[in-house]
Amino acid sequence: MFVLITGASGGLGRAFALECARRGCGLYVTDIDAQGLERAAVGIRRQYGVPVETYACDITDDSAVDGLIQNAQDKGIAIGMLFNVAGLDFEGAFQKRSFNDLASILRVNIEATLRITHKALKLRDEKRDFYIVFVSSLASLYPIPLKATYAASKRFLLDFSIALGEELKPQGVHVLALCPGGLSTREDCLQAIAAQGFWGNATTNAIETVVCRTVSKSLRGKTLYIPGLVNNLLRFGARLVPPSIIARMLHKRWLQAQQQWLSIGNQ
């Protein structure tokens, strides 16, 4: 079985690629960063000896994604599982970002994700079940001032994924939404976690455990995975408190975290 992974050259995408390779799956990976994608592919082949096909492209470009699909069909790659990992966020308040930045969050997190999903379903082997994982976020569970666009885009993915899962269930398609807290993916993420202090560490999940459980849960047909006890408690708490109050609390927290982060960045 081949697994299609977007955003596979770094962070969570690369972690999923490694996990699937460890389980012996073939990989069909894409990312906008062609060099990074190639390096990760080389490392994965050396470690696990599985076939790794790469196709670097910008998934916000419709014809590029057609190329991605066509390439798979030409090479006879049958996809059994799709990981929608590619995503985007910019730090900073709504008015501090250009509109273009904000629009690109929606283009990548929502539009491109739906595009890939729509087209990749054509690559499925009808005789076998198909598995889709959407990477939403812990941020999807609350309205978050200063991360408003990002959090709302992840909320879209969460609701969409639950609805799509129900819709496609009769056709043997299983859809899982993953809502992780902080993950130790890149240097700047490690810094961001440190900047958030106690809550940063408390909501951070071990990435190696998250990817392993995500794959297992998806294969078992689960629809939602929120890693970590603290995160599940936060989710439960969020249901009891009105959104406007949560927003006020989170606003305070992110103001502090961003100041902290900026001061680390300037050191």
């Binding site: 050259s9 460890r22 490392g43 470690q47 560490n201």
Partner: protein, 279 residues
């Protein structure tokens, strides 16, 4: 003029080793992580030792493409200015991570930086080392004792524990030294593992947080200064009869029984595969 390459040279033990050899008038080629830290270390050393030949090369040792580029730059520098001879290579750069992280090559960061980088850089510089009958030193640690390589999962993708990752990488350093000597001792190059002792450096505070950082902040105070530790490196590199594998402040030291031929060969084969080399 004798030449020495030192990684992790901008602070801690590496910087102290730079000072020791600049004082002896060796040409010091330091490797650090960024332009900024390299520039600062270079300036400070040149101020302290005017007239000494000190050069720094920035390289992100977690990336294999960068290590290969560094190997080419160093080889060219050695060829152009020092007759292609390298008298000592000190693989000292090391790191600790709070969490499981991977490099751009998809390898666990601590394993990649502490072991694989040393393996690949030594492979790159072997011809220059052979030319001079040089010595290779690897910064290992007493923490390699009481641990084993987790062969089924070297990258520690299951239950990642920061301290275990560090200990395993330090055991790998000694395994590397052992197998290196089996292969290359007859060509006049020898490799040693060094136990720097507990040294008061910042290793446990870079890119870590919470408990690890706090622990290290207090623990390191009991350590010796990096300059004391640098003496061990200088002794092993300059002495005529260093024929043990593992040296500490008081001379040759006992090492783990895990450091044996079988494990060493196995790690070597794995490292070759992960670096795409035939070292």
């Amino acid at each position: 003029m004798k030449t020495i390459v030192i990684t992790g040279a901008t602070s801690g033990i590496g910087y102290a080793v730079c000072r020791a050899f600049a004082q002896m008038r060796w040409a010091v080629l330091g490797v650090g992580r960024s332009e900024a830290t390299c520039g600062a270390a270079e300036r400070k050393l040149r101020e302290e030792f005017p007239g000494a030949d000190i050069r720094f090369f920035p390289c992100e040792l977690s990336k294999q493409t960068e290590i290969i580029r560094l190997g080419e730059t160093l080889t060219k520098t050695l060829r152009d200015d020092f007759g292609g001879r390298l008298d000592a290579l000190v693989n000292n750069a090391g790191c600790v991570r709070n969490y499981y992280t991977t490099t751009e090559d998809g390898y666990e960061t601590v394993f990649a930086v502490n072991h694989l980088a040393a393996f690949l850089l030594t492979e790159q510089l072997l011809p220059a080392l052979v030319e001079a009958g040089g010595r290779v030193l690897v910064t290992s640690s007493q923490s390699h004792l009481g641990t084993k390589v987790r062969w089924g999962d070297v990258m520690l993708t299951r239950r990642y524990r920061p301290l275990f990752a560090y200990k395993q990488s330090k055991l790998c350093n000694l395994l590397f030294a052992q197998e290196f000597n089996r292969r290359f001792a007859q060509s006049g190059v020898r490799c040693y593992g060094i136990d720097p002792g507990l040294v008061n450096t910042g290793i446990g505070e870079k890119n870590t947080s919470g408990v690890v950082k706090l622990f290290w902040r207090f623990h390191k105070r009991r350590g010796v200064s990096a300059d004391t530790s640098a003496k061990t490196y200088a002794h092993v590199i300059t002495s005529d009869d260093a024929d043990s594998l593992y040296y500490g402040q008081r001379g040759p030291q006992r090492f783990s029984r895990q450091v044996n031929g079988e494990n060493a060969k196995r790690l070597w084969a794995l490292s070759d595969r992960l670096c795409g080399t035939s070292f």
